[in-house]
């Protein structure tokens, strides 16, 4: 282990702002990208289910219109 104490580790030789700024920017960006991909997937699945339901209830659809008449 290179560091003797936590405060030196955080200070990074007076360059803490730059080093930790880079670190947290990268960490935040990558986590955000992952969350966005997951939420995009949920949206797509929801959209497909909704349009499938609409199609099934659609009166112009041959199967349904036959039942309705």
């Amino acid at each position: 282990m290179y560091w003797n104490n936590l405060s030196d580790f955080i200070a990074m030789g007076n360059h803490g702002v730059y080093v930790w700024g880079s670190f947290f920017a990268c960490a935040a960006a990558l986590c955000l990208e992952w969350v966005l991909i997951k939420s995009q997937r949920r949206n797509i699945v929801r959209q497909i289910r909704r349009s499938a339901t609409i199609q099934q209830m659609n009166p112009t659809s041959p199967a349904v219109s036959k039942d309705a008449s």
């Binding site: 282990m1 290179y2 030789g13 880079s22 991909i37 497909i48 199609q55 041959p62």
Partner: protein, 257 residues
């Protein structure tokens, strides 16, 4: 593309070129690459931030290298991969190739952005400026804009076939910027220093620092593969929404006649 009748199916590379076959394969691969990315990043961060010594010139501030170099390499590599899939798409007309290129682009843009961002945070304390218009920094900024242009172009065209084709052409034209970025520090005099790892000189880094940087780079590879596979699955679902297999996958009851 249909697999060959004779011979094992997995031997046929076109077998997985069909979105229907590739979707479950990608799903199985994602946890593997995600785990590798996390493990490699933890090892690299530990080595780079806790074990590696300070640098003689730059003190502790040099540790930004463990984030800056992997993101920069990844930004360039992803663009090359994007161009590769674009060539494949134009020659073989496989839809999946174009989807791969489009799945790669956002991660590439993010990597290019992080490369510029960490570079600015590194340049301020060491060089004395956030930004200069030297050949290395400018060509990297151009790469970032090429990614944004690719994303905007492919999303602005509604017709998937035309979007795929236009995007592929842009990706291939832009790939010539990548060697310009790489060699910029050799061809022009720049504020940015030369490469620390090169064919002729080997490495000019102490071994602990070098290993930490390589571990972080491998982690970036694994991360990029994970996000790309996840995104390509989203794209497949979106484009194949009306097919029977997607409907069955999502357990949508069939429309009874």
């Amino acid at each position: 593309m249909k697999p060959h009748a004779d011979g094992p199916r997995w031997l046929n590379i076109f077998h997985f070129a069909s979105p229907y076959q590739f979707y479950p394969l990608a799903g199985r691969l994602i946890p593997l690459f995600a785990t590798l990315a996390v493990l490699l990043a933890m090892a690299g961060l530990w080595l780079g931030f806790a074990i590696a010594p300070a640098d003689a010139q730059q003190g502790e501030g040099y540790r930004i290298i463990f984030l800056h170099v992997p993101t920069s390499w990844m930004a360039m590599l992803i663009y090359v991969a994007m161009a590769f899939w674009s060539v494949m798409h134009l020659i073989l007309r496989t839809r999946l190739s174009a989807m791969m290129a489009q799945a790669l682009a956002p991660t590439g843009a993010l990597m290019a952005f992080l490369s510029l961002f960490t570079g600015a945070l590194w340049g301020k304390p060491m060089w004395g400026t956030w930004w200069v218009w030297d050949a290395r920094l400018t060509s990297m900024l151009l790469l970032f804009f090429l990614y944004l242009g690719f994303i905007a172009l492919t999303r602005s065209i509604d017709e998937p076939d035309r979007a795929d084709k236009a995007g592929s052409v842009l990706a291939i034209v832009g790939v010539f910027n990548v060697p310009v970025i790489y060699f910029s520090v050799k061809w022009w005099n720049t504020l940015h220093q030369g490469a620390s790892i090169s064919m002729e000189k080997g490495s000019t880094m102490a071994s602990t620092m070098l290993i930490a940087m390589l571990l972080m780079s491998l982690a970036a590879w694994m991360y990029a593969i994970t996000t790309t596979l996840s995104r390509v699955r989203n794209l497949i679902l979106q484009r194949e929404a009306r097919t029977r297999w997607v409907q069955e996958l999502l357990a949508i009851p069939a429309n009874k006649a």
